[in-house]
């Protein structure tokens, strides 16, 4: 295919569409391309005439009414309107009866009401409202005046308020303000979790109170997630993960300090994503229990370092080892509801019975030191699996709502994660392809020379995401807990409607990169991409530089 033929085809179609030329006149005009053009031109003209039905008039009209109703928002009374109402109803009446005294009283009342009214109005303020800072200041002030003993309960009260705010933002369609509420929620959950050592005299009671609160939060968030639009899913998924981690931490602390007191609630991680995929058949949580009897230490392979970047150590690649007959071999769960011949989700291939069980140490990718990170990630960089062994799950096919230790997409394989939880790292090998819907990867995601990577619909990656020298990349409506790096990839890429806590680096990609509607807490830096990255409406907490300077 030459560029010339591409352009000639496009120009010929335009001329035909405008009625300037007929197909045969176009072919006469470009005799050197006649053979290549003829079939395609006539074909395009033919399919252009495909008859399509019109929308049913009754449905059209009924939908119009529903849509107009949906966009009609009743105006809430503002604070000035509220104060005016109070003035007219109560103050002005008494003022007209005793004018002299009333002046002094009224002035004093106005001053008091203004401050009380401001504080009062702020109690219902939501993230993004002008009075929200008053609300958070009031909360901080209350903590200041509260003893340590009672601070835990106050923090839990505040976390309940965060959930209420998230719910109100969802109902109001203010999805872009949800990350702010989730960020404060995360901080307050952490304070509530860490405060008051469990071995104190109030320990057991408070642990029980905390567990119940975190469990209620998780239930409320899971309910919101069911009807959440894609734009809200990353933030909600992160809030659910925060509650989850708090519960685990409490359980772990309890097991270490007061072993005679059982935790009030345990929940397997797989239950959270299962709520996100109601159409899937319920799949049992696969918990590989075998321990490898012979393992080899992973040997790191060096990656080429660039002068502008710090030297990186590649994710160690695992050397497979043979194991004896496994008693419980994790295999991709086949989804019987899918059509076997579909191309979007590849067909299942049976897994071999031998299990590849190398031992792999997850490695955290260092961040680029030349860029500023205004909000550094606070999470522990290397998550440790809690209930599963670290077995890289070799994936070729569809994995449903199950939990695996780590994930490997072998060369040439296509792996689809649908609600899957990967407790460690995920690696996509050469020519492998990964598609993730509402999945969670607690470690890093690393793809090198892969065919394609698609992270979609509420997928959460808590570690770094690094995609190098690969094919098309689509990152839509996800949560990324650390940094995102796309380098040297080809054929066109998209990053949209996502929340990225760390930095985003887009370097030397070809085919076009579209970056839109994202919240990026760190920096957005783009260099050497051909063509220039496009997009808009990105909320960047740090600096937007290079080719992406104007993509805010």
């Amino acid at each position: 295919m030459s560029d010339e033929v591409v352009n000639v085809l496009a120009e010929a179609l335009e001329a035909i569409e405008k009625g300037n030329l007929t197909p045969s006149e176009c072919l006469e005009r470009y005799p050197e391309h006649r053979d290549e053009l003829r079939d395609l031109l006539y074909f395009a003209v033919t399919i252009k005439g495909t008859h399509l039905p019109a929308i049913d008039p009754e449905f059209r009209s009924a939908a119009r009414s529903r849509i107009i109703q949906a966009v009609t928002v009743p105006k809430p009374r503002t604070l000035p309107e509220t104060l005016l109402h109070i003035w007219n109803t109560y103050i002005w009446v008494s003022f007209t009866r005793r004018p002299v005294l009333s002046y002094a009283v009224v002035v004093a009342l106005i001053l008091i009401m203004a401050s009380v009214g401001t504080v009062y109005a702020s109690t219902s303020a939501l993230p993004g409202d002008s009075l929200y800072s008053v609300k958070t200041s009031v909360e901080d002030a209350r903590l200041w005046f509260t003893s340590d003993d009672q601070q835990v309960e106050l923090y839990l009260q505040f976390t309940n308020e965060r959930i209420r705010e998230i719910k109100a933002l969802m109902e109001g369609g203010r999805y872009e303000n949800i990350p702010q509420a989730v960020e404060r929620f995360e901080n307050q959950v952490k304070e509530a979790t860490d405060k008051e050592p469990e071995e104190s005299r109030n320990g057991p009671r408070l642990v029980s109170v905390k567990m119940e609160a975190f469990s209620n939060h998780k239930d409320a968030l899971n309910n919101l997630m069911i009807t959440a639009p894609d734009q809200a899913k990353p933030a909600l998924a992160h809030a659910i993960a925060v509650s989850d981690q708090a519960q685990h931490k409490l359980s772990d602390n309890l097991a270490r300090s007061t072993p005679e007191i059982p935790p009030t609630q345990t929940e397997t991680p797989a239950s959270a994503p299962a709520a996100l995929t109601p159409t899937l058949p319920s799949a049992p949580v696969v918990v590989p229990t075998q321990t490898p009897t012979s393992t080899q230490t992973a040997t790191p392979t060096a990656t080429p370092s660039r002068t502008s970047q710090p030297t990186r150590t590649a994710i160690p690649t695992a050397t497979p080892s043979q194991t004896p007959e496994p008693t419980n071999t994790p295999t991709p769960i086949e989804n019987p509801s899918q059509t076997p011949s579909s191309t979007a989700i590849p067909s299942q291939t049976p897994q071999p019975t031998q299990t590849v069980t190398p031992s792999v140490t997850p490695t955290v990718l260092p961040t680029a030191t030349e860029t500023v990170t205004p909000i550094p990630p606070t999470n522990t960089p290397t998550p440790s699996p809690t209930s599963t062994t670290v077995n890289p799950e070799a994936c070729n096919g569809v994995l449903g709502a199950i939990t695996v230790g780590s994930l490997r997409v072998p060369p040439g394989a296509t792996c689809t994660l649908d609600g899957t939880i990967v407790e460690g790292n995920a690696v996509v090998e050469e020519s492998g392809a990964l598609i993730a819907y509402s999945a969670r990867i607690d470690g890093n995601l690393d793809a090198q020379k892969s065919a394609s990577v698609e992270l979609l619909s509420g997928t959460e990656v808590n570690g770094n995401i690094q995609i190098l020298l690969s094919g098309p990349v689509r990152i839509i409506s996800i949560y990324a807990g650390r940094n995102l790096r796309l380098e040297g990839n080809s054929q066109g890429h998209e990053i949209s409607s996502s929340w990225i806590i760390g930095n985003v680096d887009i370097v030397q990609n070809t085919g076009g990169v579209s970056i839109s509607n994202n919240t990026i807490n760190g920096n957005l830096a783009c260099t050497g991409n051909i063509p220039l990255p496009t997009g808009d409406n990105n909320n960047v907490g740090g600096n937007a530089t290079g080719q992406c300077a104007l993509l805010r």
Binding site: Q69, K75, P229, T339, S457
Partner: protein
């Protein structure tokens, strides 16, 4: 259904009016785009009921996305098709059905079709099935260009790609589609 607003108000003006409380302005936007949007979605889903539902959902989702953006809406049409595309892709993820003669709408309504239209219903099904086998971006391109009749420039704006890149994708899409259909015709 009537509105005092003349139709020559731009999309951005209508959005602004809706943000200020004039919901009928959004009704005008709906009237302006609903037919083309339905055709776009139907071309890809090939199911009338699903296409109607997704059309309605698209308008509501677009409102949810744009309502708080102040005056920053520069291309409502692009937003509309972008969200429709994402909904179609999500729909494909949940259910992949191969269209059969039994579950399609009668496309011709009994009227004789002009010669340049694919008259044979089975061929139309084959075309739509072939389109469904393309990558999502190519499906979108074929639907916008040849289903909705948008120009190269309009299609590039909606898909947020450069026009040069769009021409390359168009060539690739037509070649692939032609190959797929030729194979289907041979097999049948």
């Amino acid at each position: 259904m009537s509105s005092s607003l003349p139709l020559e108000h731009s999309d951005e003006e209508l959005i602004t009016r809706t943000q200020k409380g004039d919901s009928e302005a959004y009704g005008i936007l709906y009237d302006r785009y609903v037919d083309a949007l339905f055709r776009y979605i139907y071309y890809r889903l090939r199911d009338e009921q699903e296409s109607q539902d997704l059309t309605e959902e698209t308008f509501i989702k677009v409102w949810d996305t744009v309502k708080d953006k102040g005056t920053g809406i520069y291309n409502f049409k692009a937003w509309l098709y972008r969200i429709a595309h994402n909904l179609v892709v999500d729909h494909y993820r949940k259910s992949k059905e191969i269209l059969s003669l039994d579950n399609i709408v009668a496309l011709s309504d009994g009227e004789p079709l002009p010669e340049n239209i694919l008259q044979d219903q089975e061929t139309q099904i084959q075309l739509m099935n072939a389109v469904a086998q393309l990558e999502p971006e190519l499906q979108q391109l074929i639907t916008l260009r040849f289903g909705n009749g948008y120009s190269h420039r309009e299609t590039a704006e909606i898909m947020k790609v450069k026009e040069g890149h769009l021409r390359v994708m168009q060539h690739r899409a037509l070649k692939k589609l032609y190959k797929l259909l030729s194979k289907e015709v041979e097999q049948s």
